[in-house]
Symmetry: D2
Subunit: 274 residues, 4 copies
């Protein structure tokens, strides 16, 4: 299967770039399944129902969230009504929606998508993501009902992400980090066949501070005194993420490529776009 | 000037790979100046005098440290005796050694190297790195005595690193992050001419948890109970960092390329090595 | 019932003071049940089996632990063999021992003791303590089998501790914080009958930095550079904790008094000791 | 000199209690100098100019702030215009106002008041408070121009506070912690004559979560999902703080008493109020 995962969509510019660019990538790379992390698509803070619909319409089969899952209050209802939304498994015991679900890809093949939140350096505490993903793997073994298993691990620390990669190795097709908004360059296939990338990066303007216009974050770092709200940067967007190919029988990855399309970052992907 | 910066050297395997590989890179890419971050070269924890010497002999013009600067106690003396060691500007008011210094590159040109520690998500608190670097820029303006200015920003958070990039933009030739041990893929030249990469990654074995053998970190994440010490992974090493070219007159960057040589990561660099 | 809870016993001096003083308090105040937090009794780091036995022999009916529960490795076995040891409910899914247990007090009455770890400002992450205690209250309702229910909430943040007090209000006889090693002065009975104190303080020498000799902690705060191990202070100890009286029928608290006996702190307790 | 320090005033109820109670305490205890921490007096978040004036009119000679110093924007100007406001020494290099100042007490004696922020467990990073206070002590030695020196150390961690106590011992008349909103019971005079209390507690309603109405903080701890703003609790207030007596010649403390007046906490103070 050919699968694309795009990292945190950042505000209006990020949404527009997904709407414009994802259909082209889908066609050019003959994608079977697409996951997009949408936790920052609405003003950089959460995801509204309307913006979730726009990302789905652009060609996402599944939209994942993150620690900002419910910053937009209508997501509390929407994630119950729209099965294509995945929130973190360990967001909170009382969170609405689901943290793992089996999706149908092109040709009727099944893809499991789940998301977990890390515990290191996060603004608020979450329960153990290692046992949370373990529970999912037990009910959805790779190469069983699920032809592919995708884990979006939303966290800050590189140590926790690499540990999660090894934890899932052989039990997931892809473990990809999100949340830091900077793509890493360590795409690899782990020992037992799991494709791994520490962070997908964001779909946003990289002439910024993690997707936000530079002035306010800089002011806060330098003076310690906030003055305005953060506001997503509106310059040219790089769509950033990861592309994998998997063996339908085993669910294991046979190829992994970093994806960076447009904007200021060095371009990458499985093949050029005409 | 052609400048190479290599990220945190990780233990014995990392040191060996630097000793073997750096002379080749120096020759192949006709490097004028090389900086290597050595804060994890000795058992993954700090840098001994002997290992610092080995990295310098391999072809580093300058070795930077980090939050682990003085984990090896003989560095307390060595960094006073050996001017090619740079410790963080804001490590502590009573730290020995220097946080910024002017070096001589090939052909007598001068290069300023400085290092600062971030404040976000670090294990212990450090003073403000923004005013620390500001003070350095005031005494060493880019394009003055210094043909190039290199800032190693040793910190965890992508937001703080991107903010530091903009803060230094036009005042440094290169701002490169270290500390997370995972290379990022966001190499770019900022608006006013500063080359920027969020993290250089490590010179270590990436089949690991940030360079440490996987078992003990995994155990701690999963069970919460330590059993053994951490021990650096000993598999094939990727030399990871960044290459820039600068204009000697202005000190600004004219080119930036990610560098990944050997090991498990996708290869990158300004040119192939014979 | 007359119940005494003593906070974190700190090293050799703390153990000695418990051995000397607890029998006197037991007699003078006609105590029915005594809980002692022992997580720092062995060199300030964890609790060995031998030192646990000493605290039990001094008159503790139950010894609780904390985030340092297994710093002494023989506690991994001992807490399975000795039912009077309680480790945190949410230490880790794979921790040995128990986080809640029903004890027998004088006259055959039953007392439930449980301990939970907080999530805010702790060195490593733990799972949600609110749902962990909820599960205990469901199986052990106050005024059912248990004549009294004692919750040791081991955490740093005053906000989390006060929230836990309200969360347990009417479901526990006592919620008492541990871990900060400084006694608070906010002893009160909450709206629905639960006695509450934010922190019990330590059984240790208060001419110290939270029970450790001052020099090394001061050095680390001032210079950022460790030089020696921490070592428990050995001066005169204050036994610090809380005394409550409960109604055996309802399990609710009818009286709460701070306890500080000996050493440098202002003395407090339900009655003078002859 | 007879000096009273009151901890963080919490919202409307706290302000009212200070206005009602402080004149009585001033008269009853014949106070020479009064400091009040006002960082939460305005809706629990910062201090407006109007509310600062009200606290000064109630009898405070000096009002200190904290990490919430500038949550109310008019304090940015007011702290420049009103010399009786002290903000943290190490709030930020660009903060308006002053972090230390010499005040005149009854009878023309001079009192130095300064405030510093801790670095451990704070929401944002601050520069080293140990060297910040050192600089103040150098220019204002105890027993020189200043008959008394008062240090408000605004921080979370008990270890950092106790270390600051020892750091200032013999150089300050009083080191008192603020910020946690829970009074500690460890009032003591340190070896070289400095009165010390880890935390003054708050002037607020203790039937709360650190002064805020319980429902929203409890919801956030239990469900992880915010619903409303925090709002200060409005029940009966305890004025909480510390009283010291000093020797005018040496500046050293001769007496320290915890102060808790009104509300739910056990009463304390140097003498009963008629
Ligand atoms: Fe995000
Ligand atoms: Fe996030
Ligand atoms: Fe490192
Ligand atoms: Fe580091
Ligand atoms: Fe403790
Ligand atoms: Fe503890
Ligand atoms: Fe406060
Ligand atoms: Fe505060």
């Amino acid at each position: 299967m050919k699968i694309l995962f795009l990292g945190d969509v950042m505000g209006r510019a990020g949404r527009q770039a997904v709407s414009d660019g994802l259909p082209k990538l889908r066609a050019a790379w003959k994608l079977d399944f697409v996951v997009v992390n949408g936790e920052n698509a609405t003003s950089g803070m959460g995801l509204s129902a309307a913006h979730a619909r726009a990302i789905l319409e652009a060609g996402a089969d599944c939209v994942t969230l993150g620690d900002h899952a419910f910053d937009q209050k209508d997501m509390l209802q929407f994630c119950e009504a729209e099965p294509r939304i995945i929130r973190p498994l360990n967001f909170s015991k009382s969170a609405p929606g689901k943290g793992a679900r089996l999706f149908e890809a092109r040709g009727g093949r099944k893809v499991l998508v789940c998301q977990a939140l890390g515990q290191v350096f996060m603004k608020r505490p979450f329960d153990d993501p290692f046992s949370a993903t373990e529970a999912v793997f037990r009910t959805h073994p790779l190469g069983g009902q699920a032809s592919a298993v995708i884990v979006d691990f939303h966290c800050e620390a590189t140590s926790e992400k690499m540990a999660m990669g090894h934890w899932c190795d052989g039990r997931a097709s892809l473990v990809v980090g999100t949340h830091t908004h900077v793509p890493t360059a360590d795409a690899m296939i782990l020992r037992k066949g799991t494709a791994y990338l520490t962070d997908a990066g964001m779909c946003g303007d990289y002439d910024s501070v993690i997707g936000m216009q530079r002035d306010e974050p800089l002011r806060r770092f330098i003076t310690g005194m906030p003055k305005e709200r953060f506001s997503p940067a509106l310059g040219e967007v790089t769509l950033s993420g990861v592309y994998i190919e998997t063996d339908d029988k085993t669910g294991k990855a046979t190829r992994i490529e970093m994806v960076r399309q447009g904007g200021r970052l060095p371009p990458a992907g499985p093949a050029p776009i005409a």
